[in-house]
């Protein structure tokens, strides 16, 4: 550290990012190489969805809800549909509940695989990133075969689902399960044994149990810090109380434990998919819902990134009086900001990526040297390379 200057420098990390979809800025103040302050700047893609929902009838809001997120689109849509069904006091038929579970777990698989790939890319391990993303295509194909789409599936209706699982497709899915397990084993072996991943992720970005509790984190971020909470097990919805699965927990809270935890979760998702395909009942996939609704409900779902929260309020109307959405990344934001403090600037992309944020962060970096008053723009790529170079040369 003695080689490095210890001036205070302000860096804007963001707001464009090709890998993480949505824009987000982190204003980071560093002294030398150490982060001393961090502040997120949100709202680059605020689309006013909550206000828009108030002027649309509840069926149209389904498609609005689906477009909240590109990766966990099903989680948002299914959560909204579940909430409206509670208000209408209509339950989706059992077959629809199982189909929702099937898509939800496939989505969790592809979302976690996407994340492992993105994290590998952030640490400069592009071989691993492409390997994981290649295997992710198996899941994407399954989703496309079932729903017709790769990203926004349009699977839900209020009262059920739109697409049924044909016996041929069910057979095909069952045949694919050993292949997915085999690929996951490969992914796990590399994650556990590769020295690059250990060097860049072990003991980096530790969110302690205390910080996790204070900042109310959710999902894998919470479970990696020892909070034993999974809505699928603790407040079961769909038909999660009828299938058996484990909830992996880790106490350490660093980036490495989040990799291991998410890979373990993927194995559990495969177990759930296997049980769903085995147990799925026959019958209808859709129940009728009245056109005017009255009542308030909170609908929560364990999305790939954590607790997905929708508050829905109808007052004898077709349109919601109020709809509130809190995506999991929003809940995990406070922890990612606090945990950056004390880390090296080279670790910022990895730590921000570790929470699997659904916004972008490091495409463009503005370095302001306060003492000299000069401005310098770093692209996301340059920052990534700086991170890799810094570790290669062993400066830290």
């Amino acid at each position: 550290m003695s080689k490095l200057p210890s001036k205070r420098t302000e860096i804007n990390v963001g707001p464009q990012h090709p890998a993480l979809k949505e824009p987000e800025t982190f204003k980071v103040v560093i002294e030398g190489e150490k982060v001393v302050e961090a502040e997120p700047i949100l709202g680059h893609v605020h689309r006013g969805i909550e206000k828009l929902a108030e002027s649309r009838d509840y069926n149209k809001v389904l498609y609005l809800a689906e477009r909240i997120c590109g990766i966990c689109s099903f989680a948002h849509q299914a959560n909204y549909a579940k909430g409206v069904e509670m208000i209408a006091e209509v339950e989706a038929p059992p077959r629809a509940q199982y189909l929702r579970m099937l898509v939800a777990e496939l989505e969790r698989l592809h979302s976690h695989m996407l994340w492992v790939g993105v994290l590998a890319h952030e640490i400069g391990f592009d071989t691993y990133y492409l390997l994981v993303w290649k295997d992710r295509e198996i899941i994407m194909d399954m989703l496309e075969d079932l729903t017709g789409n790769r990203v926004n599936y349009g699977m839900n209706k209020v009262g059920g689902v739109r697409q049924d699982l044909s016996p041929e497709l069910k057979k095909e899915f069952i045949e694919k399960i050993p292949l997915i397990r085999e690929k996951l084993e490969e992914i796990k072996t590399i994650a556990l044994e590769d020295p690059t991943i250990k060097a860049r992720c072990n003991n980096v970005g530790i969110i302690s149990g205390e910080l996790a509790r204070q900042t109310c984190v959710t999902g894998p971020t919470a479970r990696a810090s020892g909070i034993n909470w999974d809505l699928r097990r603790d407040s079961p919805y769909f038909a999660y109380d009828e299938v058996k699965f484990n909830v992996p927990i880790s106490e350490k809270g660093d980036v490495f434990s989040k990799i291991v935890l998410r890979i373990e979760e993927m194995f559990e998702s495969v177990n759930i998919i296997e049980q769903v395909l085995e147990m799925i009942p026959d019958g209808e996939i859709f129940n009728k819902v009245p056109s005017r609704l009255n009542g308030k409900a909170v609908s929560r779902i364990e999305a790939p990134r954590g607790e997905n929260f929708h508050y829905i309020d109808f007052r004898e109307s077709k349109q919601p009086y109020r709809m509130r959405v809190r995506a999991p990344t929003y809940a995990n934001l406070a922890s990612s900001v606090k945990v950056l403090i004390g880390h090296h600037i080279a670790d910022v992309p990895v730590i921000v990526a570790a929470n699997d944020p659904c916004f972008s962060c490091t495409d463009r970096t503005l370095v302001i040297d306060k003492d000299r008053g000069k401005k310098k723009l770093l692209t996301k790529e340059q920052l990534r390379l700086l991170g890799i170079k810094t570790y290669k040369e062993g400066i830290l």
Binding site: M86, W229, D234, Y311, Y321
Partner: protein, 152 residues
């Protein structure tokens, strides 16, 4: 409160009878307790003092025309029970205390302030979602019109 207790499942988190103004229930099953403005912070302080492991899912602001309701969605991490606290604020001068020092809520409060114009005493966040120089009112209030944005 003796009649209402029979109607609803038991309240999952300890709360003094004197604090309860009204009890209702969401269609998703959670108990909703209406309390006076400023009580949420005191109740939360009691829970934390009693060693309860409290999770705040989010804060929802709803414009009820004559007042603005703040809905706090809490969960006890030990039993996974949820409890909803609601407090009504005066529409003309909606002010309440922050709870950010007790349980992380700065962004939720900042968002409610931007969207509905509620002031949270002690909240450090200046801006969350709206543009820096936004002066077109509070978009989630029911009397907000698009034209206000265009006037700008």
């Amino acid at each position: 409160m003796s009649e209402t207790k029979e109607l609803h499942p038991p309240i999952s988190l300890p709360i003094k009878n004197s604090d309860i103004k009204e009890i209702s229930q969401l269609k998703s099953g959670e108990i909703v307790i209406r309390v006076a403005n400023g009580k949420v912070r005191a109740i939360l302080e009691d829970w934390i003092k009693a060693g309860l492991d409290i999770h705040l899912s989010t804060i929802v602001g709803v414009d009820e025309n004559e007042r603005i309701d703040l809905i706090y969605y809490f969960m006890n991490r030990k039993s996974y029970d949820s409890l909803v606290l609601v407090t009504g604020l005066d529409r003309e001068n909606p002010t309440t205390d922050t709870i950010d020092d007790l349980v992380s809520s700065a962004f939720y409060e900042g968002e409610v302030r931007e969207m509905l114009g509620i002031k949270f005493k002690g909240n450090p966040i200046e801006r969350v979602f709206l543009p820096e120089k936004w002066n077109a009112g509070y978009p989630l209030r029911k009397d907000w019109k698009k034209s206000e944005e265009e006037k700008k």
